[in-house]
Symmetry: C2
Subunit: 131 residues, 2 copies
């Protein structure tokens, strides 16, 4: 049960931008200050822009900034939009079709409930609460 690096980087970018208020910030600045590789960061930012958490302004004096106030950015939404799909429980093992319990696996239901409970906590916070 680990938060993925992609989700982690996304949270870091959002925290950094929140700390810079409405200022436009270059990707280079975020990469430098948050100690991330620019390659990694570009994909993270593309996804944050696509998910409407971040605005991107092109041009010489362009950059990125939060698209909404921190109190309108829900942590559960960020987790989901960055790949933490916690509602679905696949058979963990890719060879799950061989599992003798697959047809009536009650463990899945327990894990699904546990994950929902996890997300309910995340859903209870917005970005401003962790600044």
């Amino acid at each position: 049960m680990r938060v993925t690096l992609f989700t982690e980087y996304s949270f870091k970018v959002l925290l950094y931008l929140a700390g810079r208020d409405a200022a436009l910030v270059t990707v280079e600045e975020v990469a430098r200050e948050c100690h991330m590789s620019k390659n990694h960061l570009v994909k993270v930012i593309q996804n944050l822009v696509h998910s409407d958490f971040v605005n991107s302004v092109r041009g010489k004096h362009g950059g990125i900034r939060l698209a909404r106030a921190p109190e309108l950015i829900n942590l559960g939404d960020v987790a989901r939009q960055t790949g933490m799909n916690l509602d679905e429980v696949d058979c963990f093992d890719t060879s799950g079709h061989d599992c003798p319990f697959v047809n009536d696996c009650k463990l899945k239901h327990v894990i699904r409930n546990a994950r929902r409970s996890y997300m309910a906590i995340m859903d209870g916070y917005t970005l401003d609460a962790i600044l």
Copy 2:
């Protein structure tokens, strides 16, 4: 946020043994019926024996069986004993010491709360509930 393969295999072994009641079962049988490699399985079983979930009986007619009734095997305990350490939130990225937020990271507290909530659900079930 994924259950590890080690935890998954552990649950499968416990479910299989619970289905065989108190019978002694060979490792070969579990490997065959649960479609696991014997190499993997040996480590999983060693850990289950060490954690007192499973008894191992040596000898020609030996084998393994549950060490306790299914209603005394808590799913949260199994998760913890098989490596799901959910109380601790390390910086996800191993280069976390470079993180500008590391000294006062409130995201950690949220994630710790979310993980505790996850485990509280697992702690609410025993093996008999998922048979």
